[in-house]
């Protein structure tokens, strides 16, 4: 299922196949999935629970290797890369926003962002400055020194988005980013995520089983039976 920019700075999946053990046999989660996401494009993938959405995201984010197929990140084929090189590519090009933010409980909002800089070897002062700027941009300047336990769900998710942007990625992946939020907050976070992705020219894939992100997407795909079955142009 291919659209635009197959070889550019975006994300490309080619013939992705993933099967998982299921009792005595296996169950196919992704079957010959093709996908291209262009820079600045926001794609929403919906599907029922257990349909393989998160697995698709894990493959696209180089968190796991597919059984077959190729993932192109900013035009770089990754199937033959060593684990070390895949880690480096993930660090340099890909960021993920998680369900319930997945923040580290011992770190303040500012430190969640600084950690990303620390992992990539960025100078402390520079990482600190960028973290402060990102928190400011996302309306979190006043919460910079708060631990996750003291934040609301919406704040945690915004910190999660800021942490993802801290990596200066070209590919942004989001796993059920609004699942733990109520109606208005859900729409706000979805809008923020899509707006930041579009504004920074990131190839963004949001998997979701709720409708909140749909209003902000260029495309909507539905994952069922291991294949991306429906494509709907929502916005753009």
């Amino acid at each position: 299922m291919s659209t635009s920019d197959p070889a550019g700075d975006g994300l490309g999946l080619r013939g992705i196949h993933v099967a998982v053990p299921d009792g005595p046999g296996t169950r196919t989660l992704l079957d010959a999935v093709d996908l291209d996401v262009a820079p600045g494009e926001v794609l929403v993938i919906t599907g029922s629970s257990g349909s393989g959405k998160s697995t698709l995201l894990a493959v696209a984010g180089l968190l796991r290797r597919p059984d077959r197929g190729e993932v192109l990140v900013a035009g770089t084929p990754t199937a033959e890369l060593s684990e070390r090189r895949r880690t480096a590519l993930r660090r340099e090009r890909i960021a993920i926003v998680y369900q319930s933010a997945n923040l580290l409980p011992a770190l303040t909002a500012r430190e969640q962002l600084e950690l990303v800089g620390h992992i990539s070897g960025e100078r402390r002062s520079q990482a600190r400055g960028r973290a402060a700027q990102l928190l400011e941009e996302l309306g979190l300047a006043g919460r910079a020194d708060q631990l996750p336990a003291k934040m609301s769900g919406g704040e945690r998710q915004r910190v999660g988005i800021a942490r993802a942007l801290m990596a200066r990625p070209t590919v942004l992946l989001a796993d059920e980013p609004t699942a733990s939020l109520d109606g208005a907050l859900s729409a706000e976070v979805a809008g923020l995520l899509a707006g930041e992705a579009r504004g920074r020219g990131l190839a963004a894939v949001i998997v979701s089983h709720d409708d909140a992100p749909l209003a902000h997407a260029e495309r909507h795909l539905h994952l069922a039976g291991g294949a991306l079955k429906a494509i709907t142009t929502v916005a753009g």
Partner: protein
């Protein structure tokens, strides 16, 4: 260690239990080190105080004075070696009963020659000079022994006066008494001494071929430190203490290893997240093992300090202890190293965590 330090600061309760256990092990290990050093001191302080570098024993006596008998011919061989000072010494254990109502005492009796360098010691000079009498370790004064009191030496017909007290230390945990070599011989051999004594006290320059002189003299020479092994109970005591301390180190390593393994299992998702953020396994390992190293180090320092305080309290009492900075530091360093080694059991578990776990996906 960006995450490790902040985790320690804000989630310190998680580490309190393992820190407490490691601290208690460090304290116990330090106290045992003090006891071991105290036992060594108590068993060999008299030997250590002797102004000798070596002791020549009879062959196969393994530095045990009671197994060694030397005669004047061997002494003469040693005396003729240029630069070597050699003096006969007799060592035996006796019981002395006061004839003046004083306490009965056990003594490590050292017979020294009036012509030898051992008699240069002021504490050894009066008895070595030929006056029949005893100069006792000063600890015996605290037990009620007085100068002028007379003591009958068990197993002989001799009754000797106490001439004075000095710091003589002890040997085999028995207080030392100096007497003349002639007096010692009459106690040990009666009228049949035939010039015999226990060993030859030596001051040997570094360039002397000790083995060659041994062959010529028919002796078996030990350095002063090697001669500690011959002190009664010395080997068994040090081996027992070493074994207990080794067990403590193993226990500590197992505790730290078990704790870190459980912590790693609890943090599987967090480790996956760090890897998903682009952290290498090396980064995660440095963070985790660095964190446990800080906990073990801090707990060990506090525990060792507490142990040193306990030794300080015990010092001067009936239990022989010695606060040796080197011993405490070595014990603490070993504990830190084995603790960190214990944490390495989680090494493989950390490296095997897949980043996909951050998304709740099995790799």
């Amino acid at each position: 260690m960006f995450l490790a330090l902040r985790d320690l600061r804000r989630m310190w309760r998680r580490f309190a239990l393992v820190g407490l256990v490691v601290g208690l092990v460090a304290m116990l290990s330090t106290v045992l080190t003090g006891l071991a050093d105290g036992l060594v001191r108590d068993g060999t302080s008299g030997l250590r105080a002797l102004p000798v570098t070596h002791l020549a024993f009879a062959p196969h006596s393994e530095a045990v004075f009671s197994r060694s008998t030397i005669d004047e011919r061997s002494l003469a061989k040693w005396t003729r070696v240029p630069g070597v000072e050699a003096s006969p010494i007799g060592v035996s254990f006796v019981n002395a009963a006061s004839t003046d109502g004083g306490p009965s005492i056990d003594l490590a009796l050292l017979g020294v020659s009036p012509g030898g360098f051992l008699a240069d010691r002021s504490d050894a000079r009066p008895p070595a000079a030929g006056l029949p009498g005893l100069v006792l370790a000063s600890e015996l004064r605290d037990e009620g022994v007085k100068v002028g009191e007379r003591y009958r030496i068990a197993g002989s017909d001799l009754t000797l006066p106490v001439l004075g007290f000095t710091f003589a230390g002890s040997y085999g945990h028995v207080p030392i008494a100096f007497t003349s070599l002639a007096t010692w011989r009459s106690i040990s051999y009666g009228n049949d001494a035939r010039g015999r004594f226990s060993a030859i006290a030596l001051r040997v320059p570094a360039d002397v071929d000790v083995a060659a002189v041994d062959r010529a003299a028919g002796t078996e020479t030990k350095t002063k430190t090697e001669a500690y092994d011959g002190s009664p109970g010395f080997s068994a005591e040090t081996a027992t203490m070493t074994l207990i301390r080794a067990f403590l180190l193993v226990i500590s390593a197992l505790i730290v290893g078990a704790f870190f393994t459980v912590l790693t299992v609890q943090r599987t998702r967090q480790i996956g997240l760090l890897k998903a953020l682009g952290a290498s396994s090396g980064y995660v390992l440095r963070d985790g093992i660095g964190q446990i190293a800080i906990v073990v180090l801090a707990a060990t320092v506090i525990g060792a300090a507490a142990g040193a305080a306990v030794i300080g309290l015990l010092d001067g009492g009936p239990v022989p202890v010695e606060l040796s900075i080197g011993g405490v530091l070595t014990s603490a360093a070993l504990l830190v190293l084995t603790g960190i080694a214990g944490s390495l059991v989680a090494f493989r578990r950390i490296t095997k965590v897949e980043p996909a776990i951050a998304l709740g996906v099995e790799a």
